[in-house]
């Protein structure tokens, strides 16, 4: 023996492991907030909006996930600014963190921030996008950030399906009246219904962001209408006209339907629209009880049921995959339901196959069109240390210039009159856009059906799942109404 080779003993190995472990833990410790570190962002061209992400409360249609050139790091500390910000002259810049949905295209936000910095050198904006793939992801993340007291200063929220109003009631967002008057901000640019939807107890808690007037639009295939010698529908059409038109567009081979007259959305959103046109709603005005057993909802559900199972001109649940609009793109349905943003997103899917027209769902027994405000907002976290700066950032983000870019490139329409009536949107949307403007100006356009306990998502799920039994034909409306009513009341009776 007499070799000088050293073997690593167990003790030596343990000591080495401990040293490596301590080093690893030290390396994983949060880095100190960087000073203006220029992290160069390549000027990635915005991809053409093939599927516009739904404005306001997210719709079921998945939006194409934008390929972010560089992903903004998840916050524990402020992320580095995307481009070199001009150094503030006298004092250090105040950092305002902006939390938004990933589907709102980080590159679009990151383009806004340098412009803001030029106008406001004492404020540094830091973007923190959060995934919005599954609806719950975003709001669960926000809740986690709130629990850890690390939520951004300016936050995108949804007054429709999300828990925003519930979180307002618990004090997590601050009212904006004092900031509005301090900044002399003119609220008249916004649709009044949008502002109303973001109020609780008479106080405004967010400036409006994306808005649309609900799933009240019927998009139709002009080529199929021409082939069937059917006149294009106008806003004067009735529910009976609707059935007749759908019947003429439907093509069959024996018992099998090859082309449907209508591929409807059967979600609670669209059902509520029709119920409102008949003067009712799924819930009472105070949001505490089910109103399902009242005539307007029964009329709504029976009409939809008959279209599917009696007249057999509308797709049932089992006739479609996840998205009813797909039947429209592929010319297997002459009409479909969708939101206002469909005007901008559908052409890329339709291509040259046919031209598309837009009309609102007919007026109901109450002599009204149904309509429901879906609104997102930009709110300010209650614990922000810089409310005035946060409001400046917020006002800038929802300004007209940015709103126009967003509408034309992403497809989301902010609830500004001057945006909806803007010449560029009118030019891009054509006659179809005029129908949307008519809907936005409707005095019967009312807020989202939010229950008193703010359990909106739960309520919607109950309606969707229970009414599925009607759309599959497994149950008639008469037999299923009681179950729907009691299930809804169980949810509405839960605490806030």
């Amino acid at each position: 023996m007499g070799t000088s080779s050293k073997r690593l003993s167990r003790r030596g190995f343990l000591e080495l492991s401990a040293l490596l472990g301590v080093t690893a833990v030290a390396a994983c410790a949060p880095a100190p907030p960087p000073t203006a570190t220029p992290a160069p962002k390549p000027a990635a061209p915005a991809p053409p909006p093939t599927a516009a992400p739904k404005p306001a409360a997210a719709a079921p249609t998945p939006a194409a996930a934008p390929p972010t050139p560089t992903a903004a790091p998840k916050p524990a500390v402020a992320a580095p600014t995307p481009t070199a910000v001009p150094k503030p002259a006298a004092k250090e810049a105040v950092t305002v963190r902006v939390t938004y949905r990933l589907t709102d295209k980080p590159e679009m936000y990151e383009r806004l921030f340098p412009r803001f910095a030029q106008e406001n050198p004492s404020i540094k904006l830091v973007g923190e996008p959060v995934s919005f793939g599954a609806y719950e992801e975003y709001f669960a993340k926000l809740a986690s950030l709130m629990a850890a007291d690390t939520l951004g200063d300016v936050v995108w929220v949804s007054a429709g399906s999300g828990p925003f109003l519930s979180q307002v009631a618990k004090g997590f967002f601050r009212p904006l009246e004092d900031l509005v008057s301090a900044a002399n901000y003119d609220l008249k640019v916004w649709y009044p219904s949008a502002l109303e939807a973001l109020k609780l107890g008479g106080k405004l808690y967010a400036l409006p962001s994306d808005m649309h007037p609900g799933a009240q639009f019927i998009y139709y295939n002009k080529k199929m209408f021409d082939a069937a010698s059917v006149k294009y529908p106008t806003s004067a059409w009735t529910y009976e006209d609707f059935v007749a038109v759908a019947g003429k567009l439907t093509k069959r081979s024996g018992d099998r339907v090859d082309v449907f007259g209508w591929a409807p959305w059967t979600t609670s959103w669209s059902q509520e629209i029709i119920a409102r046109s008949h003067g009712g709603s799924f819930i009472t005005a105070d949001g505490k009880k089910s109103a399902v057993k009242e005539a307007p909802v029964g009329t709504t559900l029976e009409w939809l049921y008959d279209l599917m199972h009696k007249h057999k001109v509308a797709t049932r649940k089992q006739d479609i995959a996840k998205d009813a609009n797909e039947m429209f793109y592929t010319e297997q349905a002459g009409m479909t339901t969708a939101l206002s943003g469909f005007i901008f997103s559908a052409p890329a899917r339709i291509g040259d196959k046919f031209k598309m027209g837009t009309v609102r769902l007919p007026k109901g027994k109450a002599g009204k069109f149904g309509g429901m405000v879906h609104i997102g907002g930009q709110a300010i976290y209650a614990k922000t240390k810089n409310p005035n700066e946060a409001f400046k950032a917020l006002a800038f983000i929802v300004g007209l210039e940015n709103a126009l870019i967003r509408a034309l490139e992403v497809g989301g329409t902010l609830a500004r009159r001057d945006l909806f009536e803007h010449a560029q949107l009118a030019e891009k949307g054509g006659d179809n856009w005029k129908v949307v403007l008519e809907a936005m100006a409707d005095p019967d356009l009312k807020p989202y059906f939010t229950p008193d306990n703010f359990r909106t998502s739960e309520m919607q799920s109950v309606i969707d799942q229970n009414t599925d039994a009607f759309w599959t034909g497994n149950q008639t409306v008469a037999k299923g109404l009681d179950a729907l009513d009691s299930a809804l009341n169980v949810v509405l009776a839960k605490p806030r």
Binding site: L14, E136, R316, K317, I320, Q465, W471, V490
Partner: protein, 311 residues
């Protein structure tokens, strides 16, 4: 002059203690992970199950209210449990039998076994999201290949994921595709290859046919493997979630509203963390109970070599 009696000092750090400490140090990384990421949250969930908790405000103690609500008021608790047990009751036996059959074929030692084994294992490597998108296309009522084949045969198309009757069987088929050639098959194969050849030879000499060899040699010898696979399969199937979440989200009409989906919605859609924690603990107790029953029943059919049994 008195002589002091020297008392030997008690040494605390004995050799065996030293060994034990070193042993614990070796497993410390795993122990820390277990406590921080498994045991700790599990115990926290148990405590939270007795509270009303929405993540952003302080938990409020409500005692057994969550458990009582689940058992007596929540219309989806029993429904989701029934749906899950239906799924387990069909998918587990089907999966076990199919995996065993496949491993028997692969154990025959024919040419290309390694290739076939890899081929059958591939679905197991497919990410769940990609698999879900693939099956959404396969099940597409208008454009999917399954309905296309049915139409070719003159059979009316099926709604698959959009049909109340077919939604769960459709998801069972997806699980079957994932699981048939996965780790279960590999474990069966290992069990089959551990069966001593002498037993086959002896059986052949005694004139036992293929079925007799399978029934009296293979099955008893791989019964521990089968038991292991069965226990794991039941535990995993009780937690069915991903594919349902990605494809149907519980629809149509709650047909695929599995227990874990119900739990997820309670936690991350409704922010009822206290109730979701109670649901999690209920599932844990059910899983524990089922595993205990299986262990007890295993004494009747699982054969361990060298074990003494009452005749």
């Amino acid at each position: 002059m008195s002589t002091a009696v020297s008392v030997p000092r008690r040494v605390w750090l004995t050799r065996s203690r030293r060994r034990a400490i070193v042993g614990y140090l070796w497993i410390m990384p795993w122990l820390v992970g277990l406590v921080a990421f498994k045991l700790g949250p599990t115990l926290a969930a148990f405590a939270l199950s007795f509270t009303r908790y929405d993540i952003i405000t302080t938990p409020i103690w409500i005692g057994l209210e969550n458990y009582v609500y689940a058992a007596t008021t929540d219309p989806l608790f029993w429904r989701s449990l029934r749906t899950t047990l239906y799924y387990v009751g069909v998918s587990v036996p089907l999966g076990i039998v199919a995996s065993l059959g496949l491993s028997l074929l692969l154990n025959m030692g024919k040419r290309g076994t390694a290739t076939y084994r890899t081929f059958f294992f591939l679905p197991n490597l497919t990410p769940v999201v990609a698999g879900a998108i693939l099956w959404l296309w396969i099940y597409h009522p208008q454009f999917g290949p399954l309905n296309y084949l049915l139409r070719l045969m003159g059979i009316p198309p099926i709604g698959w994921l959009g049909s109340v009757e077919w939604a769960v069987p459709s998801l069972i088929l997806v699980a079957f595709w994932y699981g048939i050639g996965g780790s279960r098959m590999v474990i069966f194969l290992a069990g089959l290859q551990a069966v001593p050849n002498e037993l086959y030879e002896a059986a052949e000499v005694d004139g036992a046919g293929r079925w007799a060899r399978f029934r009296y040699i293979i099955l008893p010898m791989i019964s521990p493997t089968m038991f292991f696979n069965l226990v794991l399969a039941i535990i995993v199937s009780l937690r069915v979630f991903e594919v349902a979440f990605l494809t149907t989200v519980g629809s149509p009409n709650y047909a695929t509203w599995f227990y874990m989906l119900h739990l997820y919605q309670a936690a991350f859609r409704d922010f009822d963390m206290g109730y979701a924690s109670a649901l999690a603990w209920i599932l844990f107790m059910i899983t524990l109970a089922l595993t205990y029953v299986q262990i007890k029943l295993s004494k009747r059919w699982v054969y361990y070599e060298g074990e003494e049994r009452e005749s």
